[in-house]
């Protein structure tokens, strides 16, 4: 009895990247479209009233019909958020560098920062309004307060986790503290920094919109609160959609920046 001769016909395993490279980029759109379709269908099927949950097609119609006012408020929110975000990048870099490179500053200020970050920013808006009046300034400051903490934490982490041997190498060359920070610490924390920007920018949107919805006469937050009090729920949802779109766009923009500035950090994974 001899064993049957089996020709080896092991198939190559299917690989998404190699055999269907178009699937991965198309995936988010497909999922998004599916969610919208299910939403639309459910609204039809269960006859959900418009003031509870409007259908996506209604929201789209409102988006187009009220494009003018929506755009006016959107660009206001966008500018407010960007100013607040720019502030938090600047402050976050400086504070993060200080916290990450000095044990004294870390020990002294970090608990305070954590405590500060735990305070709900909604509760701060009325205080800001008392100080600065209703309008753009409280919104900018809330955006700033919401978004600067992750930047601080990430920059500090990058700086604080430099290999001790590297410090020894540099110190035995006569390196000064600022050499250690600028030649090693900051470049090393760049991947952390850009990673945190993606998170921080979405938080900045949350901040400015919270503030606008409490105390402002302009911005998407204001638009949504007013629409809600007029029972124009499709318009509220239109505002939400625009907000989400802005968030995604900003996140994507910083993801691209991250990829282009700190390629060494991600490519390293492939090599090791």
């Amino acid at each position: 009895m001899s064993a049957p001769i089996v020709k080896s016909v092991r198939k190559r395993r299917f690989s998404l990247e190699r055999d269907a490279p178009w699937v991965t980029p198309a995936l988010p759109w497909v999922v998004c479209a599916a969610v919208v379709a299910i939403w639309e269908l459910c609204c039809y099927a269960f006859a959900v009233p418009e003031f509870v949950l409007p259908r996506p097609s209604r929201i789209a119609a409102v988006l187009i019909a009220s494009a003018g006012p929506i755009w006016f408020h959107t660009q206001h929110t966008l500018i407010t958020t960007m100013i607040g975000f720019a502030l938090s990048v600047a402050v976050g870099l400086v504070v993060g560098t200080a916290v990450g490179s000095s044990k004294l500053v870390y020990g002294g200020f970090y608990p305070l920062l954590v405590g500060f970050n735990s305070v709900p920013k909604v509760a701060l808006v009325p205080v800001l309004v008392v100080w600065f009046g209703i309008g753009t300034i409280p919104a900018v400051l809330t955006a700033f307060l919401m978004s600067f903490f992750p930047i601080v934490v990430n920059v500090a982490t990058g700086l604080a986790t430099v290999e001790p041997e590297l410090h020894d190498v540099l110190r035995s060359l006569g390196a000064k503290k600022r050499d250690l920070i600028f030649k090693v610490g900051l470049p090393r924390s760049l991947p952390y920094f850009f990673g945190s920007l993606k998170v921080a920018v979405t938080l900045a949107f949350v901040g400015s919109i919270i503030s606008e919805s409490i105390a402002s006469s302009e911005g998407i937050g204001t638009l949504m609160v007013r629409a809600a009090s007029d029972f124009r729920i499709p318009l509220v949802f239109a505002g939400l959609v625009v907000t989400a779109a802005m968030g995604i766009a900003m996140y994507a923009a910083f993801a691209v920046v991250e990829r282009h500035t700190t390629g060494w950090a991600t490519r390293r994974v492939d090599v090791e």
């Binding site: 290999e163 540099l170 035995s172 030649k183 090599v271």
Partner: protein
């Protein structure tokens, strides 16, 4: 020849009270200018502490450390160092990694702005001499461990330091690459004669490279024995099979075996 490094009756203690432990005790060590010295011992015997002591990164608790006739007071300014881990900066190319000391050492840091090309030439020449021609513009993570370690050696040497400190620089490499790098290092040393302290637990490595081998005791570390290596240079890999070489290695091995290893358990 005068002593370039002189350590006299040094004690080094880390921590205090409960966490207190003695890394070095009654340590005396003298190394001549231009000498290649190796320090061997069991792991945890304070070899790396010795390195930090000589480079001034750690002050001794008791005793004195003199380098080039000066009592140490803070980190030395132009020591070259290389470790088991190449510690290259992944965002810099090899060439730019090797140029790093020029950007930091006082003597060069201001000149480099105006004379970048001549410094680049020096760094490039050094990279070529260790067989890294054509890789100047690669990033460290694109290269093998052995190539990274070559570059790390270059970084330690490019500014022509008087003192080179090596802490198990070849420990993480495979045997072939390691022995290749012994020769790379030996050639660099023969050309430039920088004073070198090599810390290692590879006895063959110590004997192959060093003029003198120091044997360290178990913690708290002190020098137990000194052994001269009277083998002609340049040494080639054949000598590692010769009787002189093997005799020295065996003597050293016996010396270290004689050290009780029990104390190692109490460190934990």
């Amino acid at each position: 020849m005068s002593n370039f490094v002189a350590i006299k009756d040094v004690e080094l203690v880390y921590g205090r009270k409960k966490t207190r432990f003695q890394a070095l005790k009654n340590l005396d060590l003298e190394i001549k200018r231009g000498e290649f010295a190796a320090v061997v011992g069991r792991s945890g015997c304070g070899k790396s502490s010795l390195m930090k002591l000589v480079s001034g990164l750690l002050p001794p608790t008791e005793g004195t450390v003199e380098v080039d006739g000066n009592l140490l007071d803070g980190p030395l300014k132009i020591v070259g160092m290389a470790f088991q881990n190449p510690t290259l900066l992944p965002w810099r190319t090899l060439l730019s990694n090797v140029m790093l000391p020029f950007e930091i050492v006082d003597e060069h840091r201001y000149k480099i702005r105006t004379q970048r090309s001549s410094y680049k030439e020096q760094a490039g020449a050094l990279l070529r001499s260790v067989g890294l021609e054509g890789f100047e513009n690669k990033y460290p993570w694109q290269l093998s461990g052995g190539m990274q370690q070559r570059a790390s050696l270059c970084r330690a040497l490019v500014h022509q330091p008087d003192l080179l400190m090596l802490d198990e620089p070849f420990g993480a490499l495979d045997a072939f690459t390691r022995e290749e790098l012994w020769d790379v290092l030996q050639n660099l040393w023969i050309n430039r004669k920088f004073t070198t302290i090599l810390v290692t637990h590879d006895l063959r490595e110590a004997v192959y490279l060093a003029d003198r081998v120091f044997v360290m005791s178990e913690r708290p570390g002190r020098i137990l024995a000194t052994h001269d290596v009277p083998i002609e240079r340049p040494r080639r890999s054949e000598i590692t099979f010769g009787s002189t070489f093997l005799d020295i290695v065996h003597t050293l091995r016996d010396r270290i075996k004689a050290v009780p290893a029990t104390t190692a358990l109490t460190i934990a």
